[in-house]
């Protein structure tokens, strides 16, 4: 797992005020900014990820178990 700051303040406010529900199994379609830093030996020394925009919440599959009776 990696961490990313969500810079999309408007969406973040809605999410924190429960106006933008995200349930387990849902997915986020986002515009992500990656920054990868390399040292003088071309090895990766740092990566940074920021969500510039949350485009939409994609609802996950809701499997409903049939009744056995």
């Amino acid at each position: 797992m990696i961490e990313a700051k969500v810079l999309h303040g408007e969406w973040l406010n809605r999410f924190q005020n429960n106006q933008e529900p995200v349930f387990p199994g849902d997915s986020l379609r986002v515009i992500l900014r990656d920054e990868v830093s390399y040292d003088y030996d071309n090895k990766i020394v740092h990566t940074d990820h920021e969500v510039e925009q949350v485009v939409e919440v994609i609802r996950g599959l809701r499997l409903v178990q049939d009744s056995m009776l």
Partner: protein
């Protein structure tokens, strides 16, 4: 150095034993030469200043780490000096800290940025929302 420091409670520790740190040695030599030049006390047998050589970041960081490790042995009333001369002594700053950002900036040659669309599947834990493989929702500037 560690042994010296641990034996030197309340006394000034001469740190000439760490003169093998190339970067420190060079910086110290230049500092002394400049001080002597400024005061007019440059001995007549010194003709030139040490030649400049670019410091290698890994060597410099290694030296800083080594010095910091050695200074941790000092107590509040201990002092470690780099060089002593008739003009005075140069002391290590025991409060010196090098931040992660500075180290990263020193060792980074190039940063490549890219922007693109991704889809992240969410998963809720007891403490927070997590998006395995990608996103954990946080406030900006946390």
């Amino acid at each position: 150095m560690q042994k010296l420091a641990s034996q030197a409670h309340g006394k000034t520790v001469s740190a000439s034993v760490i003169i093998n740190h190339a970067g420190v040695k060079f910086i110290g030599m230049v500092a002394i030469a400049l001080a002597m030049l400024a005061s007019g006390s440059m001995p007549p047998n010194i003709k030139v200043l040490p030649a400049y050589a670019a410091l290698e970041a890994p060597t410099l960081l290694s030296d800083i780490n080594s010095i910091k490790g050695d200074l941790e042995w000092l107590e509040n009333n201990n002092v470690a000096t780099t060089f002593k001369s008739p003009l005075g002594a140069s002391e290590y700053n025991t409060a010196l800290t090098v931040s992660e950002d500075v180290v990263r900036e020193l060792i980074t040659r190039e940063t490549i940025a890219s922007v693109g669309e991704r889809i992240f599947k969410s998963q809720k834990t007891k403490l927070s929302w997590q998006f395995p493989m990608v996103v954990q929702i946080r406030r900006p500037h946390d």
